[in-house]
């Protein structure tokens, strides 16, 4: 394990930014969701990396957190995609910039 912790974190930051850029720049709601999943995964990677490089690997905190995070991500994806489908049915589009009925 010679790879420095920083490299993992940089990888995580990269993934986060890519996901963020996609979520901000693409119009398709599904792609926005994918971007958000990427961001979530980047956070998970951070947890794992810090667990691996942390002083108390036997405590498994990071691993547990990521396991729960994955489970919650599954729920999030299911509900999110169901919402996209429902919106598409209602509005005949799933492009986020067309969906601005909730403005102040």
């Amino acid at each position: 394990m010679n790879t420095p912790l920083t490299h993992y974190l940089i990888l995580s930051a990269l993934l986060f930014s890519i996901g963020f850029a996609g979520a901000v720049a693409r119009r398709s709601a599904i792609l926005v969701l994918i971007g958000i999943e990427l961001m979530l995964n980047a956070a998970n990677l951070n947890f794992i990396a810090f667990w691996r490089y942390g002083p108390h690997t036997e405590a498994l905190t990071g691993v547990m957190f990521v396991l729960f995070s994955i489970a919650i991500a599954a729920a999030e994806a299911a509900v999110g995609l169901a919402l996209v489908i429902a919106i598409y049915r209602q509005r005949k589009t799933a492009q986020v910039d067309c969906l601005d009925a909730l403005k102040g």
């Binding site: 990269l14 993934l15 890519i18 693409r26 690997t57 509900v79």
Partner: protein, 191 residues
């Protein structure tokens, strides 16, 4: 000297980042979804490299086996959205968005590189044995586990209810549904 282990890491990292970028930039949504699945798989490999075996497999099972499929289904169910002529794939203010993303990346990278406390070696051995994970789930994390169970059930029902067609939309044919004729000019849009 660069160890094969490290080469493996950089290869996987490059693979992951490349597919992530592809997932966010390709035009066709199905391609995006497939690339995202590949990126998730790459991340799973990184977890394996970090000795988090269980998490890696769980990542593979959940992301590649379930979420990618879900995304693909959603893409197919919202098919009409993609092929509007003269319609850009990126939102009008995408440049501002990407700029902010770059800003975020820069900020994080700076924070990471400048931080002295991150310069530490890894403990030589770290294992997350399945048995221990199971024990922890059943003892210390039993309440979160139960709550995740409830959450998943709720999400399942919620997703079904949200995506289900409303009663008025389902037209039950008296006997057999008449085959729907394609409108003239309605190509088979599979993309």
């Amino acid at each position: 000297m660069v160890m094969p282990n490290e080469i493996a890491f950089y290869l996987i990292a490059a693979f992951t980042v490349a597919f992530a970028v592809a997932a966010m930039t390709l035009r066709r949504l199905v391609h995006c979804a497939l690339c995202a699945a590949a990126a998730f798989a790459g991340l799973a490999m990184i977890y394996l490299k970090l000795d988090a075996e269980f998490v890696g497999f769980a990542q593979l099972l959940v992301y590649v086996g379930a979420i990618a499929i879900l995304i693909v289904f959603a893409v197919l169910l919202t098919r009409g959205d993609e092929v509007r002529p003269g319609h850009s794939q990126s939102s009008p203010s995408w440049m501002a968005g990407v700029a902010v993303a770059v800003l975020v990346l820069a900020g994080m990278a700076m924070a990471l590189l400048l931080s002295p406390s991150l310069q530490r070696p890894a403990p030589s051995a770290a294992v997350a044995p399945v048995k221990k994970i199971g024990e922890e789930l059943m003892t210390r994390y039993v309440l979160p586990l139960e709550m995740v169970g409830v959450l998943l059930t709720g999400a399942l029902l919620g997703a079904v209810v949200i995506a289900m067609r409303e009663e008025s939309e389902v037209k039950r044919p008296a006997r057999w549904p008449a085959p729907r004729r394609a409108e003239p000019g309605e190509a088979i849009n599979l993309r």
